[in-house]
């Protein structure tokens, strides 16, 4: 792993140190979740479980890592958000098709549909900003709302699983998914619309919410 070079404008040294800690925490948790999910799939060998594992990886680990890696590579905030949301969208579609689909599982149509949807989610906000006088902040909020709605729905289904079977992991999964989708949307919206929030505070808020979401999901995969 190369050490990410973080530049957070308007931040003091302490803020930068905190941001680096947060970023490393997110990367470590993401890798851990992906590893646990992959092991879970290897043990079961079920294709629907694979679809669920891929869905959770795409919903939780890839977007959070992207929100760190892309800005570090010099990508500005709108394409970063759009990319994170697009990947998360594909992940949520995978989870939904795992839980609503028949055991036959992944077919070409599903993959094509999810990919097309993701590309639209990725391209639409940028196109909208270029074609209209829509501000990047509004576009970011709008695109994040897509996965907030979808993720909120999946989180509610997980919560219902917890209520019905009294399974604590499902509660933690619900909390984690809600934080990563609805929570991230809330954080992005709040920092965009509140006046006088520095870039550092904005990034820190979103990352903190995502870190908490990842902690919840990792716990849900580990508790008995």
């Amino acid at each position: 792993m190369t050490t990410p070079e973080l530049t957070v404008e308007g931040g003091a040294a302490v803020t930068v140190a905190l941001a680096i800690l947060l970023a490393l925490g997110i990367i470590a948790l993401s890798a851990w979740i992906a590893a646990v999910a992959y092991r879970g799939y290897r043990q079961s060998g079920d294709r629907s479980v694979l679809l669920l594992a891929v869905g959770i990886a795409l919903t939780a680990t890839v977007p959070t890592t992207a929100r760190i890696a892309l800005p570090t590579a010099g990508v500005s905030s709108l394409p970063t958000t759009a990319a994170a949301v697009a990947v998360q969208f594909a992940g949520l579609v995978a989870i939904l098709s795992a839980i609503y689909g028949r055991p036959a599982g992944v077919d070409a149509r599903l993959v094509a549909g999810a990919t097309t949807g993701s590309l639209v989610v990725f391209a639409a906000p940028m196109a909208a900003v270029r074609a209209t006088d829509l501000g990047p902040s509004t576009a970011m909020t709008a695109v994040s709302s897509v996965t907030a709605v979808l993720g909120g729905f999946v989180a509610v289904q997980a919560y219902r699983g917890y209520r019905r079977y009294d399974r604590r992991p499902m509660l933690l999964l619900a909390v984690g998914l809600a934080l990563l989708t609805v929570g991230a949307f809330g954080a992005i919206t709040a920092v965009e619309w509140l006046p006088a929030v520095s870039d550092a505070a904005a990034v820190g808020t979103v990352w903190t919410v995502e870190l908490l979401g990842l902690v919840a999901i990792l716990q849900s995969l580990r508790v008995d």
């Binding site: 079961s44 629907s48 997980a158 219902r160 699983g161 995969l221």
Partner: protein, 117 residues
Amino acid sequence: MGEDTDIAAETVGELLEDEYARSILAETSTEALSATELAERCGASSPTIYRRLDRLQELDMIDDEQAIDPDGHHYRRFSARLERVTIELADGGYEVTVDRTDTDAVDRFTELYEGLR
């Protein structure tokens, strides 16, 4: 959800013609049973039961779930998903519709997540 039309009429006919496949569906429609219990109740050998179960699962007419016996061993229990088969003759062809019991998304989500953990 719960129905599809991509099964050929002859596939359904062939399947339901089989005595053991019919018994398996009938027995598992009231309660979930293991392959051993099915072998006893249908008066067939285990390999016969497993072959029918595989075929029934391919057609998604039977569901399985993991269960743990008193000694802590994992085994599978099967339950019928088939509710109704409709064969319609229209426009010079047969149209087969299979209605299945819906395991709802919440059940499936919880079950799959348990599988992942």
